[in-house]
């Protein structure tokens, strides 16, 4: 419960603040256009790092399963969720 409260207070606002205003399928940086999947991968990486940090803080990380499976899965999950939330339509 405390974990979810903290997650809501920290990770979600960061993600929303960055992406909620940038739902266009491309990110324009000084005339260069970046595709959505690159944004999703980078955002997914950051989100998974924050989530993993929270899991470590909650001392749940050692019990999640093999890190080689869990860490890439968390990254992929975050990437796909961000894509589904902001870029699927």
């Amino acid at each position: 419960m405390i974990f979810m409260t903290r997650l809501r207070k920290t990770a979600f606002p960061i993600i929303f603040a960055v992406f909620l205003t940038a739902c266009d399928p491309m990110l324009s940086i000084e005339g260069s256009f970046w595709p959505a999947w690159i944004i999703c991968i980078l955002a997914g990486l950051m989100a998974s790092m924050v989530l993993m940090w929270q899991l470590v803080r909650q001392r749940l990380a050692p019990y999640l399963g093999p890190p080689l499976l869990i860490v890439p899965s968390l990254w992929a999950l975050c990437t796909f969720v961000i894509w589904l939330l902001f870029y699927s339509t």
């Binding site: 399928p25 491309m26 749940l60 050692p62 019990y63 999640l64 399963g65 899965s73 999950l77 589904l84």
Partner: protein
């Protein structure tokens, strides 16, 4: 007691950790499948651009531009005067052609009159020939009489019933009649040949009129020259063929416009398209008539509705080349082959004066798996019979 609590807490954490770990892996698989499915059902590409039909404006007559009514990037309506070429030489040619038409008409009238007199001459010669024929008949009758008279005198002369002088006179009259007959026949022949000659002259006169049925070729040719000259005068005023934007206009009055040389271009404002180059692997999910969403990077937050009007039928793969008459086949060991891309034409129906479309804008296109519900826009037929149209 404390150890027992710690143990319970650890057990609880292990259980929660296992659940979260499983959810993470399952969630990654499920969301990944969902993403793949959405991507396949709604193909999208950023290899797209806005384009319109471009028509180069070239004069159909040569000459100096005396009036230029448009500026670069100006909007023009169908029928607006774009520029005018000095019409005076063409007006003079038109006046000359009209005069030549009059001359042709008079010439034809004169030839018709000559043909009429030739007909009269034939009639006159026919009468002469008839007279000559009658003369021949008369002389033949007289000749026959003289011949029989001479034949009657001959036995009488032998018996001395008639004098030798009478016989000689009869012979002489008969000989004179024979000569007169030969002369009359010659005159008749002469009359016949004169008729033939007059008929030939008449035919020549008729062919010179050049009348075929109700059409006179000479007058029609002169009229065609007048029509061409009128067209040339008309071509001096170059009008906008449709609603469009003037583009790449870099000249002014005084420029010598050459026939067929494009001076600037018009961007057709009636139809705007997004040409999206989709990988061949997505073509199965794209059909003409489907709705598409076009996002232009120049207008963040703005999305245009479009409809797929067709998919390119031909592509020129870069591995097919030709050296002379032989195909140039490269030695290659490509294990990874990139998908070909085919241009998909999407008509953008929506117009927004705040966000005008410009050809060449970078677009991001998503084809949706539902038919477009845009009235008046019809996809091109896959069989090539139809054409995308917006009612004007």
């Amino acid at each position: 007691m404390e150890n027992n609590d710690h143990f319970v807490n650890l057990k609880h954490r292990m259980k929660l950790g296992r659940i979260i770990g499983t959810l993470i892996v399952l969630g990654a698989l499920v969301t990944g499948t969902l993403v793949w499915r959405i991507n396949y059902q709604h193909p999208r590409t950023n290899d797209a651009m806005v384009r319109a039909n471009i028509v180069g404006i070239a004069p159909q007559v040569s000459g100096r531009i005396v009036e230029l009514h448009v500026e670069d990037n100006q909007y023009v309506k169908q029928g607006d005067l774009l520029y005018m070429i000095d019409p005076r030489p063409y007006q003079a040619k038109l006046a000359q052609a009209r005069a030549e038409l009059l001359v042709a008409e008079k010439e034809v009238d004169s030839r018709r009159a000559s043909s009429g007199s030739a007909e009269l001459a034939i009639e006159r010669l026919e009468h002469q020939r008839a007279a000559a024929e009658a003369e021949v008949n008369r002389i033949e009758a007289e000749d026959e009489y003289l011949h029989s008279y001479l034949e009657q005198l001959k036995p009488l002369a032998e018996k001395q019933y008639v004098t030798a002088d009478q016989l000689k006179q009869a012979r002489s009259k008969y000989a004179a009649s024979r000569a007169e007959l030969a002369d009359a026949r010659a005159k008749e022949l002469s009359a016949r040949s004169a008729i033939e000659e007059a008929k030939s002259d008449s035919r020549r006169a008729v062919s010179l009129i050049a009348q075929v049925g109700n059409v006179n070729a000479r007058i029609e040719a002169a009229r065609a020259v007048v029509a061409a000259a009128e067209l040339d005068v008309e071509y001096c005023s170059v009008l906008a063929p449709f609603d469009a934007y003037v583009t790449n206009l870099n000249t002014r009055e005084g420029e010598y416009a050459r026939i067929g040389t494009q001076m600037f271009a018009l961007v057709d404002d009636r139809h705007w398209y997004a040409i999206a180059n989709f990988k061949e692997t997505y073509l199965q999910s794209i059909k003409p008539g489907q709705e598409a969403e076009v996002f232009l990077v120049g207008y963040p937050g703005k999305r245009y509705q479009g409809v797929v009007t067709g998919i390119g039928w031909a592509n020129y793969p870069d591995n097919t080349k030709q050296q002379g008459v032989l195909p140039e086949v490269q030695r290659t060991l490509n294990w990874v082959i990139l998908a070909s891309r085919f241009p998909v034409r999407i008509e953008i129906h929506e117009r927004d004066p705040e966000h005008p479309l410009r050809m060449g804008m970078t677009a991001f296109v998503t084809v949706l798996d539902r038919p477009a519900d845009i009235p008046g826009v019809f996809p091109a037929s896959e069989k090539g019979a139809g054409k995308a149209q917006i009612p004007q």
